[in-house]
Structure formats: C-alpha cells, structure tokens
Amino acid sequence: MKAGGKLALWVAILFAGGAAVPFATGLAVLAVLPAAEHDVVMRVLAERMPLVVFGAMALLALAAVVARWFFAAYVAPVATLAERTRAARSAQAAARVASEGGAELAQLAREIERMAADMRRLRADADARVRESRADLEEERNRLAALMSELVEGVLVCNDEGRVLLYNEQARALLSGEPGSSTVPPVGLGRSIFSLIDREQVVHAIEKLERSRQRGEAAPRTRFVAPTGSGRLVKFEAVPYRGARAELGGIVFTLGDVTGLLEREAQRLAVLQSIATQARAPVANIRAAAENLARYPEMESERQRQFVEIIASESLGLSRSIQGALQAYGEALKASLVLEDMRVLDLLRVAEGRIRAQAAVEVELEPADESLWLAVDSFTFVQALCFLAARLKEDYRVRQVRLRARRADRFVELDLGWRDGVVAHDALVHWEHEPLSVGAQESPLTLRDVLERHGGELWRQRQGPAGEREACFRFLLPAGEPVAAPAFPPAAIESRPEFYDFDLFAHGGTAQDLRARTLGELSYTVFDMETTGLAPSAGDEIISVGAVRIVNGRLLKSEIFEKLVDPRRPLNPDSAKVHGIDARMLEGQPAIEEVLPGFHKFCEDTVLVAHNAAFDMRFLELKQKSAGVRFEQPVLDTLLLSAVAQPGLQDHRLEAIAERLGVPVIGRHTAVGDALLTGEVFLRLLALLRERDIATLGQALDASRETFYARLRY
C-alpha cells in the first residue's frame, strides 16, 4: 500500500474512533430517556446541526493532524531507518544511520549506528585475518613449490584414492618423459596415479605401510623399483601421511632414476657369470691334458707334445678371458648402490669440519678443482679420514693435517698430509685392520673395508723437500661422474604453483553422477583445433590440437597438450594466413590417428570445453573411429554458455566475449593460444552462470541446449 493510502486509512480510523465515543454515548443516553425528553433532545440536536457538523469536521481535522504527525515522526522514519540500516550493513565505509523522526527513533538510530560500527570493525578484523592467513598460505605454498622444484629427486603426492595432489617437474620427467607424448599417460593434478605406476605396486606399498603402522612403527616407509612410461627405471620411496583423523591420508613418493645403476648391476652379474662359464671349459681341458702327462710319463713324445700344446693354448685363452672380464668388472664395480657421485671439494669440506671436531686436529684445505668428482660413500670415507687424523695425532703428535686432491687419469688422488711429524713406514700396516673408531664413535669397519668398498688403495707417500717430516697418506680412488644439475627451463618458475593443488584433498569420490556435480569442482580439458578448412565432411583435416586443463577452478598453464598433425592433403594457402601453419611445419608430424590416442588420455576424467564446440566435435567424431578411441565426455561450449550468461547480447565470438569479460586477447590462432583464451573465458563465464543459478553440470548442459534451440529459431 502506498504511503498516501496508508495515511488516509489512519485518518479514517482515528476519525471513526474519535467520533464513535460521543456518538455511542449520545445513543445510549437517548435509549434510556423517556419519549418526551428524547424528542426534546432530538429537536435541540436538529436545531444545533451546524454545530454538530462543525464538531465532526473539527474532529476530522484533528485526526488528520495527529495521523500526519504520527506518520512523519514514526512511520515514514521507520522505513527510512530500515533502508539506512540496510545500506549501513552492506556499506564498506562508515554510513551514517540517523533518523529525522521522533526522539525515540533518533535514539534507536543512534544505537543501530553504534551496532553497525561494531559490526564493521568486526568484519574488518575478520577480513584482515583472512587476508593475512591467505597470504601466509600463499607464501607457504610458493615456498613449498620453490623447494619442490629445487629438489633433484622427483616428488609426487597422491591422496588415498590415488589422485595426484602435487608433483614436481622432475617427477613428471621421470614418469612420462616428453610432454604430449601419445603413448605415455601424462602426469597431472587430479589424475589417477595408477595410469603412471603399476597398480599392484602401489597397492602393495599401501599394504606394507599399513602393516608398519599397525606394528606401531614411528616412521613407516617402503620402496620399490618399477619401470615408467618414460622408459626409465625408477626407484620409488613411499611415505604415508595422515589425514585429520589419523587415517591414511595419502602417500608421498620420492622418485629417483636408477636406470644406469641397475644396468651396471646387471653388467656386473654378467661379468661374474662369464668368468664362471668361460673358465670351465679351458680348465677342464688343461686338467685332462695335465693329468695324462702326469700319469703316463712314458707316453710317446709326439703325444706328449700334443698335450703340452693343449695346455699352453688353453692357458693363453683362459688368461685372456679373465683379463677381459676383470677389465669389465672394474667399470661395473662403480655400480655399488652405496656409492654416490660427489664433488671432491664438498667431500673435503665435510672432512675438514669432522676432523677438527672429532679428532681435534687442525686442517689446512688446499683448493681443489671444482670439476673433480668421486664415487664415494661419503659417510664412511670421512670416518676413515677422521680416524687417520686421530691416529696421527695420538701416535705421532701430528697437530695439523693437509687435505688436497687432484685428478690422476681416471682416478682421484686424495692426500692427507702432514709436515710436523715423522710417521713410521709401517704405521698404515697396523692401522689398516683396526676398527675406525674415533673417540667415543665406534665403527665396525676397518680402513681396509673402506678401501675395498670404494675399489681404492692407500699408501704412505713421501713428498716435498722436507723429506721424512713432510709426507702424506695417499688415497687413490676411482673418479666419479659429475651429477648434472637438473636443467629445467627457468620459465617453469612462473608456473610453479600449478604443480600442486591441496584443495584436491577435499575431493570426494568420482563415482557421483557428473551431472549433479557443481561446475566449480569438475576438471575440464579446454581444447581447440586448427584445420585445413571448415568442412570436415568435404575432406578438411585437423592440423593442430591444443589443450589445457582446468582443475579446481584453476587454469593449469603448465599442463598443456600441443601437437601438430600431418593432414595428408595440401594446405589451402588462405588458411595459412589464419593459423600461421605452413606445409613445411607439418612435414614429418604424426597423423591424426597417432595424435588422438594421446589427446584422449589427456582428456581422461574431464569435461571437454571448446568455443563453438560443435565444430571441433564434428572433426573428432569423424576421426575417433580410425584412431581407436571414443570421446564420450560431456561437452560444454563457451559460445552457448556466453549466450546463456548474457542473453541480451548478440556477439558471442571468442574475442568479443573475452573483451567483455576483461580477458586480454593474446596469442590467438594457435591451438594452444586459443585453448588458453577459451579457458580464461570459461572460468569467468562460470561466475556469471552462478549468478543465474546455474551451478551444476546438468544445469549448464540443459541451459546450453535451450539456448542452442532458441538461437536456431531466432
């Protein structure tokens, strides 16, 4: 009801109320009066009618004045106050709440204003706290991402369903080699780990970890070696992490490449095998001949010469095969799994510190060549150096030792020298077989064991002009191979944070009906294709496929699929102007039948998204059969979604939508560039769709269909 109507109603009510009292009183008095007096009163009233009417008018006027005052002071201000309160609630800055109404209302307004101020303060506090913790979280995540990408090892974390939550570039390279390969399943956030690692291995690892936990082991871990899609042999170390209720939350895998090591291990076994088998026959022949010679000394000289000949030639062959096998063994010896390649300089620095601390001997470290590497078990080797320093001090009062190293052919000479003591020649002879104990630190190993383990030798070497007083113990150890620092493009740094997504922790099962899932929680593959023309049924072909993934509402720019395709037909020179791909670039590229299986794997478990998807899907449908795959995923079209989200607008070209939604249009007309742009547009469209209460995939598909038919009719 309008304010005017309300006012009129109130005036009427007040007037009726005000008039009712004298009127009713009059009627009651008239009812009890005798008839004669009744007539008199009626007559008097009739004579004074103008007075009665005036009284009624005065009453009406009074009612109007009262009602107006009441309205102005209490009714209208309440509505205004309510409006101002609402404004104050949603306003960011202080909004004044006051009332021009009655004193009581003004008081109420002051109270509301105070409350609004309190609320604003609280909200600001809460906002600040949220911002702070978000910034902390972001910083922590970036730190983690940076750490992960610095690691030499691959790291991959999955939840208890086997979905990948986090991985680094090293893990990706070990598991799937070249990105975009058509035969190897890609590594990606939210993807199943079982396509990357043999399911049985993972299940077995989980069982082992669970058993360790039940036994109450503090830090359960398990390891296994498995081949991966990249063709490498990888050592996995699995450590569980706990969920909020101490159940198994998931597994952290550390990955290391052991391809080379295992090859060398196999080589070593082969060497031993070959010695054993190659030696048997010649030894048998020699033995038979020698036994004959020994048993029949009187045999004729011709026969004797024959046997001697046999022994000579067989021993020569045996000598050679042993020599050959041992040479090979020398190489294979480095395969020992306890030895790791280490920069000599680093080893010496570690030794320097330990000798000072444990043996209490001063150390002078001579600068060593940066490029010098050793295959070394650094812990026991440093222990050995410590032991020697300690014994030099105890037995010969050596107070300072010198460490230095230099290359000697395929070996490294590492000297532990001294200048201030005469050390007996046979000192090493006694020390070699003693346990490597320094102070309280006991070791079951001897110096000899350490040398055997490293395939090295040790002797006392004289040096320098000071003669006996200046000498050293010289280690000769097989040189190691430099461990290349992982060479990953620095460009990856920018996209680092995409390698993990902890929000996936919260993900439920995947078995839910896709249609009922909300758009925000689904994973998408946004793709685009360049083609030779617009008519697939008339023989136009795909020449490039580009795709990018969206997981948990984030466009993963580092998880990209990008392939050029040989169309096996000439290119229309006009189309080259659009996509910039010429025939030369397509030479030697795989055919679509080879590309689609890889793309199919890339799209696994996701909803497909494309701009004007019908066009791309038409090409895919024509090609999927010969490629032996089927694209059965739901498909969303950004063109249709844009029409749903902004029905009043006509222009739904990709650029137009992008401009409207504030997405910078760059890198267009390459398949990946368009896919990225479509992905950005799609994410913004999702926000607009939410405002229109389109929240689930089912709703989005239905709305798309409707608008599609609507556009057809139009």
Binding site: L316, L318, S319, I322, Q323, G455, E457, W459, L476
Partner: protein, 125 residues
Amino acid sequence: MSKKVLIVDDEPNIVAALEFLLEKNGYEVKVAVNGVDALEQLDAFRPDLVLLDVMVPRLSGYEVCQRMRTEPRWQAIKIVMLSAKGREVEVSKGMSLGADLYVTKPFSSAELVATIHNLLRPQGA
C-alpha cells in the same frame, strides 16, 4: 758374471716355473717365501732384481718395496712386482712405492723373462 734374481713368492707352483725358466736363461736365482725372509736375503744374496709378489706372508710385497726404496744401499736393485690383483689402483700403488714394473697374473713367462732381461741390461747398451 751372471745376474742374480730373488723370487719372493709363497706359491710353490709359480716359484718352480719361474725358477726353472730364469735358470735356463742364465740367471742365478734364490727364493724367499715371505717378506721378512726377503729383506734378509737382500743383504745375504745381494740380488740385482727382485721378483716380488704382493701377497706374501709376514710383510706384504708393498711393504718390502717401500722399505727397499727408503734404504740407500738397496736403491739400485730393480723391483718387479707380481700380483693376482690387477686393478689399476693397485698398479698405481706399486709404482708409487717405487717398483720398476708391476706385472699382473696371469702373465706370459716368456714375456716376463724378456722384461727382466731389459731391466738388467747395462744402461745405455
């Protein structure tokens, strides 16, 4: 005057073969079966060359070699080390300790004799 060779080895089979071969080639030969024995023979027999096996009892071949090279009166004696250990680090150790040659088993006896002959040839001849 024939040159003198001291064989230091505790394996009778190889000793028998080497002794026979060297005597056939006109050398005067003596045998020591351990490191301590070898050091004693150095002064008693005064060899021109020592065929020194690395793995002999009491004092290892390396030690015998090292002691010989720190003692001035033994400097002129040639040392040929024999070893069943053929790893390069061991060869390097032997040479570093002052051996003139390090020969790994198995070896050709004829080549060994030729080598010894070369080592004992008067300098400049």
